[in-house]
């Protein structure tokens, strides 16, 4: 979330799409309701099903799963045509005025792809996706037939050509206008199935906050994995971000682009880089081609790129400070300037090791052993059968869990006979872990707030704390490597200075994350001093000379000399805008609304005087306010420093240049990988051109001929993933799995509510009772009557109802495809094809 849960109460307009917060985030959703109650804010719900959110929305549009880019593109077109854009914001705070290189081509001109498409490799040479800046582009063409990795991209130009009148035909704004001119209401209707009158009602209502360019009101876009889980998920979110920039909603109270994360600490897991392609604090992993630490830094540290008279802080120019401090935390004294801060110890990554590839690699025999801690990969899918088949080939599996789960019992999943079981060679260890109430530590919520929790009860039985298990395994491995073994250095040199090495105190780990001074430090400007060994006050103190250690730079400030900031419990909110600066601690630097400089006009005055977040104080020549300025505190407005300090340009990217995204600098609408129609925009290019399926025998993809129904998966508010099927209270609320289908479809098939239905995809089948409802209607998609169904996914083969034999002991993810988004590598759980029969 750019903003936060409580901040939603400041909004005037909500577009909730690709998410169902009433269902999945009820307690955060209260602030959306609060806006309705106190500000008479309006809410638009766009969803494949009429959901609990839709029940309290002011306008509902039923959309075909996966067609969100068409909808949002249509809204962008509507906003531009009806002058419902934030002109000043657009010119000064975004790259709308930037001029793009002449050889950049839009899909309208190049058969449905952007310029630079390499059809053989299913990838783009993105050199032409650049600003024009009079600097000669480096050689970027690829010799025909050459099969090496794509050539390195040219840099962004240091001085960007621009046109503040926005009239240059090659400026970002004109390209945007041209690109989305094709997203007419008629086209939106053909693709999404939303009648054009209804679409126009929605577009009119959402953009009404910017009627005649008036900047007072703010609108927010709220989404969740209904957007992420597509083969173009990142681009849906991009479209939303662009719309918000166009309307001047980013950085403002009650505005922003708000991703509602679905789990208590996957925000923290992302921040902490529990993912193959990053290091803590969104640092990029080194590749084998980065021959040294310096080469790595050169590649990953962006250089400023902006119109000459403007300013850009380009905060990621500090990447070396963050990285060196991280490596000092990892390897302590073993990380020296001489050895590139132990650069060799880091594994180098040049392949996709993401979730679906991980299972594919196990399926293909590459992966021998897996740890699954609180991660039920078999149930989570996609393509659960493939994951079960993959585990059969592994040598060992270590599961840390609190309940019996599908993954740890893959070897006796339904359909495996005793004889087959005996053929499965995998050794499975199932270690009893601690529940949430037995552990302390911090979670980072969706609003980036780190909140410390305390342990309330001891672990039951022989259960052990998760951190103790990992520590004990690691220490035993380290003992073994003390004798011999391959490349033992990173294992032997890893810092492990916890008071109790066998069960590290999580408070000590948080201190490590915050970082400390390794030598006496002094701030040259303020003369403030920090002694060696003291906790750092924040990431501004980080150094690239090895005098600071910090596990995760964005968490620097969370555990300072003043103590554990994440445990703060001051609920006060002096501005009454939901800032609560004294409650917990939010990254970065306790800022609650990101990019809040954009809440003011160019001169530093708030767009809306009634919702003042920060402002420029002429007297003190400082940015001050109710929130911590997400900006250089002393940058005078007349210096024209861009508010988007994490971008090299300093401004918001309506056009995402170069390597930012794999599949286009503007989002273009493509059909889901399994789709019922050809793409009406360009039938010859139906799917995302850079997306390809996996190739194993279990990776099967269906077509509309065999599988005519669009299917989407979803969560219920009564259940949480594959966890609460062990909780008798939640099981009482919703005792059985079901399949939600429209009354018209059910009538046609002669299915009544409560009857069993079989849903099949190219990959598997799923049987559950039908929920026949008026809340899903048949849709006309490109002139063809199309049905959609939705399936809640909370069941598997171990749970209260499952063990009592009340379900078919199946997982919905037996149906879902292994197709992933090319940027975020998230599988396309939504909008795949199935057929439906009576069971």
């Amino acid at each position: 979330m750019t903003n936060g849960w409580v901040d939603m109460k400041n909004t005037d307009m909500m577009l909730i799409m690709g998410g169902n917060p009433a269902e999945n985030h009820p307690c955060g959703f209260k602030w959306a309701i609060e806006a309705k109650r106190t500000r008479s804010a309006k809410m638009i719900s766009v969803d494949p099903r009429f959901t609990r959110t839709s029940a309290v929305a002011d306008l509902f549009c039923q959309i075909r799963a996966g067609t969100d880019i068409a909808f949002l593109g249509g809204v962008i077109k509507y906003a531009i045509e009806n002058n419902r854009i934030a002109k000043d914001y657009l010119i000064h705070f975004t790259n709308a005025a930037f001029v793009v290189e002449g050889d950049f081509k839009l899909p309208a001109d190049t058969d449905g792809v952007f310029s630079g498409f390499d059809a053989e490799r299913h990838s783009y040479n993105r050199a032409s996706w650049n600003y024009s800046g009079g600097k000669p582009a480096q050689t970027a063409s690829t010799a025909a037939g050459q099969s090496a990795a794509p050539p390195p991209l040219p840099p962004l130009p240091e001085k960007v050509d621009y046109d503040l009148t926005l009239e240059n035909p090659n400026c970002v704004f004109q390209l945007l206008k041209k690109h989305y001119s094709r997203y007419t209401p008629e086209m939106v209707e053909r693709i999404t199935g939303i009648p054009k009158e209804e679409f126009q009602k929605a577009a009119e209502l959402y953009t009404s906050i910017r009627k005649d360019g008036d900047m007072k009101k703010a609108g927010t876009i709220i989404y969740a994995v209904g957007w992420t889980q597509h083969s173009f998920g990142t681009q849906i979110i991009r479209t939303a971000a662009m719309l918000q920039l166009l309307l001047g909603n980013v950085g403002r109270a009650g505005g922003g682009v708000n991703a509602l994360r679905g789990h208590s600490n996957i925000q923290g897991a992302t921040d902490m880089a529990g993912l193959f392609d990053s290091l803590p604090g969104y640092l990029k992993v080194p590749t084998p081609a980065d021959s040294s630490f310096d080469a790595w830094m050169k590649r990953t540290t962006p250089t400023t790129s902006k119109p000459a008279p403007w300013n850009s802080w380009n905060y990621y120019s500090n990447t070396p400070k963050f990285t060196v401090s991280f490596l000092k935390t990892m390897y302590g004294d073993a990380a020296t300037k001489q050895n590139g801060w132990a650069y060799d110890y880091l594994p180098k990554v040049d392949r996709d090791y993401s979730w679906t590839h991980l299972w594919d690699n196990m399926y293909n025999g590459l992966i021998k052993g897996m740890f699954a801690f609180g991660m039920n990969g078999v149930a989570i899918g996609p393509d659960s059968k493939k994951n079960i088949d993959a585990l059969k080939k592994a040598e060992f599996l270590v599961v840390g869990e609190i309940y019996p789960d599908e993954t740890s019992e893959f070897w006796r999943s339904p359909g495996i006979s005793q004889d087959e079981m005996k053929q499965i060679k995998t050794t499975v260890y199932r270690l009893p872990c601690a529940g949430f109430a037995e552990k302390d530590g911090s979670f980072t919520n969706s609003a980036r707030w780190l909140l410390w929790k305390n342990a309330a009860v001891p672990t039951p039985g022989e259960c052990r704390l998760d951190q103790a298990i990992v520590a004990q395994i690691f220490l035993k491995v380290r003992e073994l490597y003390k004798k011999d073994g391959k490349f033992p250095d990173p294992i032997l040199k890893l810092t492990w200075g916890y008071t109790d090495p066998k069960s590290p105190s999580l408070a000590e780990v948080l201190k490590e994350l915050n970082g400390k001074a390794l030598a006496d430090l002094e701030d040259p400007a303020t003369k403030a001093q920090i002694k060696a060994g003291q906790q750092l006050p924040g990431f501004a103190w980080l150094k690239d000379d090895g005098t600071t250690a910090c596990g995760n730079w964005i968490y620097s400030g969370s555990f300072t000399e003043a103590g554990n900031q994440t445990a703060r419990r001051d609920p006060s909110d002096p501005s009454n805008m939901g800032v609560h600066p004294g409650w917990g601690w939010s990254w970065p630097a306790n800022r609650r609304v990101l990019y809040n400089r954009a809440s003011c006009d160019v001169d530093g005055k708030p767009w809306d005087a009634t919702r003042r977040q920060i402002w420029w104080n002429e007297g003190t020549e400082k940015w001050v306010g109710n929130d911590v300025p997400d900006f250089k505190a002393d940058s005078h407005p007349k210096d024209h420093m861009g508010p988007f300090i994490m971008n090299a340009e300093g401004v918001g990217r309506i056009f995402a240049p170069l390597g930012a995204f794999a599949d286009g600098p503007f989002p273009e609408y493509y059909e889901p990988f399994e789709s019922p129609i050809q793409n009406p925009l360009h039938p010859e290019r139906t799917n995302n051109p850079v997306v390809t399926g996996l190739k194993s025998a279990d990776d099967k993809y269906g077509t509309v001929k065999d599988y005519p129904v669009v299917c989407t998966t979803f969560r219920l508010t009564e259940h949480y993933h594959y966890w609460t099927k062990n909780n008798p209270m939640n099981v009482q609320l919703v005792p059985e799995p079901f399949i939600e289908m429209g009354a018209e479809m059910a009538n046609e098939m002669g299915i009544r509510g409560g009857e069993k239905v079989k849903v099949s995809s190219a990959r598997g089948e799923y049987i559950a009772k039908a929920m026949v409802t008026k809340r899903i209607k048949a849709m006309m998609i490109d002139g063809k009557k199309t049905y959609q169904i939705g399936i809640p996914f909370h069941w598997g083969y171990r749970g209260i109802a499952e063990d009592e034999g009340k379900t078919e002991r199946m997982m919905v993810n037996l149906l879902t495809p292994t197709i992933v988004d090319p940027n975020a590598h998230t599988p396309e759980f939504k909008g795949f094809l199935v057929k439906v029969e009576k069971a």
Partner: protein, 193 residues
């Protein structure tokens, strides 16, 4: 004995007399109420482990932290001070007591041996020793120091870590530390899916 007029008088007045004799008092001014079950319970501030709203919860346990008490959860309720949830909880958060006191919890280490058709109990020490040995053996056999082009890669592709959604930041960092130190590249998390 013969029925007389006196008998009749006796008969009709016996009921009224009985009430007086037994002296029933059926006039409570106050009704019986259940005493507030959390009145003296111990409060622990925690965070709900489900979605990313991060609601503050208060876990009520019996005992006052005295040494001779094993805390037992008696109630879980929203933390009214928490700015986001202000004491509210959803149906999952509100049922957390059943998550803490769940009789389906795994309570001891188990192992399923190759070809096995059921779980066997295993001691912690043996389980951890075996796991460590497998990690060491696998790593030693398959660790890649250089790629085809001669670049140093120092990676371990044969062991994967999949992390859960409810792991704390601190636990995740310990995982990053240990796994990256081993050279693990198949490092993924619920955050991906």
């Amino acid at each position: 004995m013969q029925a007389t007029r006196r008998d009749f008088l006796k008969f009709t007045t016996i009921g009224g007399a009985a009430a007086a004799i037994f002296g029933f008092d059926l006039e409570p001014a106050y009704a019986q109420l259940r005493v507030l079950k959390i009145a003296r319970a111990n409060e622990t501030r925690s965070t709900c482990p489900y979605c990313a709203v991060g609601c503050g919860t208060i876990i009520y346990t019996i005992g006052d932290r005295a040494k001779n008490v094993t805390p037992q959860v008696v109630h879980v309720e929203g933390d009214p001070d928490h700015p986001t949830n202000r004491g509210t909880l959803c149906p999952k958060g509100a049922s957390l007591e059943q998550d803490i006191l769940n009789d389906r919890r795994l309570l001891k280490p188990q192992v399923r041996r190759p070809g096995g058709t059921d779980w066997q109990d295993i001691s912690w020490d043996q389980a951890l020793d075996e796991i460590a040995q497998k990690v060491k053996d696998t790593r030693d056999q398959t660790f890649i120091e250089k790629d085809g082009k001669g670049n140093t890669v120092n990676r371990l592709e044969t062991i994967a870590w999949t992390g859960g959604c409810t792991d704390t930041n601190e636990f995740n960092f310990l995982v990053v530390k240990t796994m990256r130190a081993l050279g693990v590249v198949h490092l993924e998390n619920q955050a991906r899916v």
